[in-house]
């Protein structure tokens, strides 16, 4: 024990960020940590930029992560990986789903999606792990498991064994989607271990 950490989840409303952050929370609780998580519901969920913040350690007070102190960022969309840059520090790890979701201004031709947007992070020397979660999810047979692919990818950076996550996933997804979610987890974990 003694370890502590802050995980920032970012993405677009509807991407399954809340489920991913729940699995992570239960895994950290199973490892014996005190855990707090903060979410925002309501208006932000309608396709807007969303975050969840998860903190763990021996004793966690604040449910919010301070800027400059997110150790891992799990970004479900490329631009949303960059939007929260002030939360990162030079030793942060950013795990990013290489999916582009166009915000309204881009989809309607009023703005353009920034090219090579992840360069803003890599240029600072911050470690970036790219995960094609959407394609991996399709390969395992269910595109809606992209969030669990991401859980697999982040799992390699935390001390808990695969079995801890697998048990939680099995308990938290509908029975008929259990196997495909476990495959999605394994596929994501493989990316980070490669």
């Amino acid at each position: 024990m003694g370890a502590q950490g802050n995980i920032l989840f970012s993405g677009v409303g509807g991407q399954g960020i809340l489920l991913a952050s729940e699995i992570m929370a239960y895994a950290l609780l199973a490892a014996g940590y005190d855990v707090k998580k903060s979410e925002v519901h309501g208006m932000a969920q309608r396709g807007g930029s969303v975050t969840a913040q998860l903190r763990y350690g021996d004793k966690v007070y604040s449910p919010l992560i301070e800027p400059g102190r997110a150790d891992i960022q799990m970004a479900f969309e490329m631009m949303e990986a960059v939007r929260y840059l002030p939360y990162l520090h030079k030793d942060s790890t950013v795990i990013v789903n290489t999916q582009k979701i166009l915000p309204p201004s881009v989809a309607t031709g009023k703005a353009t999606y920034p090219e090579d947007v992840l360069d803003h992070i890599t240029a600072l020397g911050i470690k970036v792990v790219m995960v094609d979660a959407f394609d991996l999810a399709r390969e395992v047979g269910e595109v809606r498991t992209a969030n669990v692919v991401m859980v697999g990818a982040i799992s390699a950076f935390l001390p808990m064994a695969s079995s801890v996550y697998e048990e939680i996933i099995a308990a938290r997804v509908p029975k008929k989607f259990k196997d495909v979610n476990l495959k999605a987890f394994a596929a994501g974990r493989k990316v980070s271990q490669a």
Partner: protein, 602 residues
Amino acid sequence: MAAIGDDLVWMSGNEAIALAAYEAGVKVASGYPGTPSTEILENLSTYEGVYTEWAPNEKVGLEVGLGASFAGVRALVTMKHVGLNVAADPLFTASYTGVRGGLVIIVADDPEMHSSQNEQDSRNYAFAAKLPMLEPSDPSEVGALLKEAFALSEQLDTPVLFRTTTRVAHVKSVVKKGEKIDSPVIPGIEKMPAKFVMLPGNARVRRVAVGERMAKLKELAETADFNRVEPGSGKRGFITSGVSYLYVKEVFPDAKVLKLGMCWPLPEKMIRAFASEVDELIVVEELDPFLELHIKAMGIACHGKDLIPDQGELNPAIVRKSLDPASIAQLFAPVPLPMRPPNMCAGCPHRGIFYNLSRLKVFVSGDIGCYTLGFLPPLSAMDSCVCMGASVGIAHGMAKALGAEAKGKIVSVIGDSTFMHTGLSGLINTVYNGSNSLLIILDNRITAMTGQQDNPASGSNIKGEAANAIDLEALCRAVGVKQVDVVNPHDINGCRKVLEKALERDEASVVIARAPCVLLPEMKKAKHIPFSTRLADCTGCMACIRLGCPAISWNPLTPEEALAKGYKEKQKGFALINEVQCNGCGQCQALCKFDAIVRQEA
């Protein structure tokens, strides 16, 4: 940290309130959905032995709770901060009647306005209505504090306010389950007119009782467990409550802290003793200088809003920057990026109406719900939005102010649930006092923005069981609206004709735009036949793009690319429908003059 299991659960503040209400023996619970309070009643409705309901608005919800209390059972009422404004009328007099069964009113504030139109500080209501207010810092504190609230309510004959904020309501932490307890009060009809009938003669007597009660509460605050001094080192001492306490502990883990679990009334002797032990007293609180003002009124010097912002929510970084700026590390600079505001869903019925409104030269008096997003580009079809139900009265006021000039130019839009909440009385006024503003009821069959809650017009109750459904057409006719049209908002061209005709009328009229929310479970399950773009026929006119549907994207082309794709050189791009996202509403097809959008055959 013990493992999650039978006694320890991982829960949000709202789930913890539901659990604690069940454990505290609550028998009746009512309220109206509102972020960040909604999940309390949703969760409580899953427990055995508790009657739960969605009321049409918070005033009714509080009255139901008060009635249950008069009948001798424990009652819970839930709402967001602005809901307490609606419930303020019964609140101030319930303070006088007091209770029989314990009555706790949960009010969830939304500092930073994550999902609200203002960030009022509900603690001011405790002072104004002369009621105690308790305030947990995180979900783990909820259980004991809520049970204490019910005990105080019955012991001191008072409704109790219980305040959360977004970062308590929507924070998850480990919560310990508690014992199930029952109220000592015996349910039944008990006539207590001196207490329940607030005519002036009785109310004057009760006013004295209220004063005595608050004096007792002040005394109790000095020794209650929920107010505590945490010893520490250093010359500074902090007074704080709610989630701000956690930010203080995060930034100054070794400091002396006076944590208030009850933010009104205040333990004056305790505060005075604490102040005398520190060189510098700092009050850390979100929003208004509530504690600070009352501590200063005791003649105690302290810092507060001279150092800490009185707008937006706090966090550890703000507390650190305000009180210990030297410890702030250099941060990576933010990168300018296109904003990603929330948007109506693909296939949202509201989009069709707002597209039409954006094409009509009208002032759109808006209201509170998902459809407030009609304000955003490219639709940009909302011109005012104030509070629940305000659309109708504001439209009438504008119409009266402008007289003949307003004819055909003022439209109000309101959702089905918001119309049930407080829109109806506005419509009655419009009819009674005669203005020709047009009201569009956006009937998507659900309270959508807060996450799909049923309402009096939806046909189901909080548990999803069949319930009496208010007939909106009959209701509008009953209050005197002669012309009530029902349209399918996905039929853009058909709607346009009905709206234009309605705007020509010389009296109040109502158009009900009826199509279910695409997030309704039955709509999610339904097999939609998506549309797709026949790219060869797309001329890049952007007519469909102007809907702002998230399933349609604009793909710009250079002249060379245009030629290579077989388009005219000057074609600037093409529209593409994402068939995975498309819900098959067909609004875009109605706008395409080149037959480039076609429904996929099953």
